[in-house]
């Protein structure tokens, strides 16, 4: 019986991680659309066009927040501080998803009535937009209903608990949470960017080395999240103390090598960032800066250096 329960728990954890990463990919796709839309409209200088565009694309923005709510539900199931918090947070995020879903559906219906959409499947950016957004909203409403029913109908003792994580230390909690969130977002961006890059980078026209370099730094960002978030954070406190220095040294070497290779690749194709895989760099073009890639290059480096400092401090403290 115990084994059966453990298997069930393991299955749900695995599912949660898979859903978490799928939701991340969806969030990234939505974010690409949202940020490019926003930036395109804002810099346009024609407020009338910007307003028209924003109103047309509102379901895309709402879909982004729907994906985020799904991401939060999956993350809560994957790891939480206690069964009580799991129940509370899962219901909260599912509820947000359901409300956003309803809002989206109402908005599209209103858009159809007022003529904003020429038909329910007018097309662009997908062949059936905004119908796809409506279907997406329905999916999240269904998920929310399932979660509420699950917590309502399942007996207290049989509820899924998931891996329990230690609460974040109170000292500097805000700073820790802030930087962790930023890092997670960038690392996820790298993660999705890596898989997406297979479809959009250019291995001809002299861009091979730059394309490989972009894929490499995205992969390292992805590796960074895998090591720290999926491996390190699941270790016991003692194991963490023992492995911090070693892990951060390895990751520092990997990130330094990848950063150097990135700059070598860039040197070979100085017009690479504006020609290769631009779709995964939505922020970069607005200010004509190499912002997005640099962030992806340097974040794992900063995380590795932070880990190294932490490891050294712990080592020094242990010697005392």
């Amino acid at each position: 019986m115990k084994n059966e329960n453990q298997n069930k728990q393991a299955l749900i954890v695995t599912l949660s991680v898979i859903v978490f990463f799928i939701c991340s990919a969806c969030s990234l796709m939505n974010a690409l659309y949202c940020f490019s839309d926003c930036i395109g409209s804002i810099v346009s200088g024609s407020p009338d066009v910007a307003a028209k565009d924003a109103l047309r694309s509102l379901p895309i923005f709402l879909s982004f927040f729907l994906s985020l709510s799904g991401l939060m539900v999956a993350h809560t199931f994957y790891r939480n501080e206690s069964p009580k918090i799991l129940k509370k947070n899962a219901k909260k995020h599912a509820c947000i998803g359901a409300v956003l879903g309803v809002l989206l559906i109402v908005y599209v219906i209103a858009g159809l009535i007022t003529g904003r959409y020429l038909s329910i499947a007018e097309g662009a950016p997908s062949p059936i937009y905004p119908l796809d957004a409506v279907l997406y909203a329905l999916l999240f409403i269904a998920i929310a209903i399932f979660i509420f029913r699950y917590f309502k109908t399942t007996e207290e003792g049989k509820l899924y608990n998931g891996p329990v994580r230690a609460p974040i230390a109170k000292k500097g909690k805000f700073i820790r949470c802030f930087f962790r969130t930023i890092w997670l977002l960038i690392a996820l961006y790298g993660f999705c960017g890596f898989f997406y890059s297979f479809f959009i980078v250019d291995f001809v026209h002299g861009y091979t080395s730059y394309s490989l370099a972009v894929m490499l730094v995205s992969l390292v960002a992805c590796l960074s999240i895998a090591v720290w978030e999926l491996y390190y954070n699941n270790l016991s406190e003692e194991e963490r103390r023992a492995k911090t220095l070693k892990l951060s040294l390895i990751l520092l070497c990997v990130t330094v090598v990848s950063a150097v290779l990135y700059f070598v690749g860039l040197r070979n194709s100085l017009d690479g960032p504006s020609n290769v895989g631009f779709g995964i760099l939505p922020v970069a073009f607005t200010a004509s800066v190499n912002f997005a890639t640099l962030v992806v290059v340097f974040t794992p480096l900063i995380v590795a250096v932070t880990g190294l400092i932490k490891g050294l401090i712990r080592k020094a403290a242990a010697k005392k």
Binding site: S36, R56, Y117, A124, V201, D202
Partner: protein
């Protein structure tokens, strides 16, 4: 385990080396490979559509409705001014057709132009803009789909010439490559942007590189020294900036018209000044038309070469709102130059009509706005 890892790494390296090492053509030794031909006739009509800018926000359906009306207006105008049987012969799409669009936009865009090409009997020739590279599709997909579209003249050799859409449309006596060239239409890729060094935080706008100029000059020599040329590309070059300064600082005797609302050269760095127009002038360049700047459609003529912007096509992203009660002297000057006495948006198209083989042509700008109480259409001659 080590053997397996070695095999995997070797396979990956081989895969990338196969994809990365396709044979590169030397442009200097393959000048004929860049040429397509069409049959020339007097009153050859080239319609320039620019900066259509389908993006993630775009309702493709609404945009197609606008372009349907625009193309009909152009066709009707050509028939009424040139007679039955006249038509749009060539559509030049001078860049920024898309921006952060996806494969669906791309497919719909090409299908639309294929359908219209069939309906009106034209062929179309796209050149890359800076934003066309900013797609959620692979840039090669865009190149491949345009190359495969039956009415599209675009092709892209895997060459050592900088840029992608560098190709020549020679208008010849009978449409074959062996007959005399009457006009040359040069399409150039003015790029997107580049970093000065690998450590640069900022990027500069790209420019027509000296090797592209050299390529053009050699193509022109091949066609014949006296062949008149019109060039189409996306990003305005350094010469435009110099003329802008000359005209706006009074006293310059340079003919100019339409709406001189903002400077329209982008790089601005002398180090990256393109030599294209300066050199092409010596090779019978008659006109150079571009896009990129949406708030302006200024055109000037210097040393017998007409250089100007096309009128932005369609209401995506941004464009200038022309107001008759504006206190902006540039807008008032523009209004008096075109003789329009009502408010309108600076969107539409521009039309070049090649009159004869001597190198003379007509240029007209069309301002076309959709309106609930009847669409607005105004044709203005250069």
């Amino acid at each position: 385990m080590k053997k397996r890892l070695f095999c995997i790494i070797l396979s990956v390296i081989m895969l990338f080396s196969f994809t990365g090492c396709t044979e590169t053509m030397a442009y200097g030794e393959n000048l004929e490979e860049y040429i397509v031909t069409m049959q020339y006739h007097d009153q050859f009509n080239i319609l320039q559509l620019t900066d259509i800018h389908w993006n993630a926000n775009t309702s493709a359906k609404s945009s197609m409705i606008y372009m349907d009306k625009l193309l009909k207006e152009v066709n009707d105008h050509i028939v009424s001014t040139q007679g039955e049987g006249s038509k749009i012969d060539l559509v030049e799409l001078t860049g920024d057709m898309l921006m952060l669009a996806n494969s669906y936009h791309l497919k719909t865009f090409i299908n639309y132009f294929e359908q219209k090409a069939e309906e009106y009997g034209f062929v179309y020739a796209p050149v890359w803009g800076n934003h066309d590279r900013q797609g959620l599709y692979n840039s090669n997909t865009l190149a491949k789909r345009f190359s495969e579209a039956p009415h599209c003249l675009y092709f892209e050799p895997n060459d050592d010439l900088y840029g992608r859409s560098n190709y020549i449309i020679n208008l010849t006596e009978d449409g074959s490559t062996s007959s005399k060239v009457d006009w040359m239409i040069a399409n150039l890729d003015s790029g997107a942007s580049f970093s000065e060094t690998e450590l640069s935080v900022f990027r500069d706008y790209d420019y027509i590189r000296p090797e592209q100029t050299e390529w053009f000059l050699r193509e022109h020599e091949l066609a014949g020294e006296d062949v008149p040329v019109i060039a189409y590309y996306h990003i305005p070059q350094d010469e435009n900036d110099k003329v802008w300064t000359a005209v706006t600082e009074d006293g310059a005797n340079i003919r100019n018209k339409f709406f001189k609302l903002e400077d329209f050269a982008d790089n601005g760095n002398e180090k990256y000044a393109s030599n294209f127009i300066d050199e092409a002038k010596k090779h019978n360049l008659k006109g150079a038309f571009m896009g990129h700047a949406h708030n302006v459609d200024w055109t000037y003529e210097e040393d017998g070469v007409v250089v100007g912007l096309g009128v932005k096509t369609g209401p995506e992203l941004y464009f200038a709102h022309i107001k008759t009660d504006s206190e902006d002297p540039a807008m008032q000057e523009g209004l008096s130059s075109v003789g329009i006495n009502e408010n309108f948006d600076l969107i539409g198209a521009s039309l070049v009509t090649l009159k004869d083989q001597s190198g003379s042509f007509d240029l007209e700008h069309l301002y076309f706005n959709e309106r609930k109480d009847g669409d607005f259409a105004a044709w203005v001659k250069w």
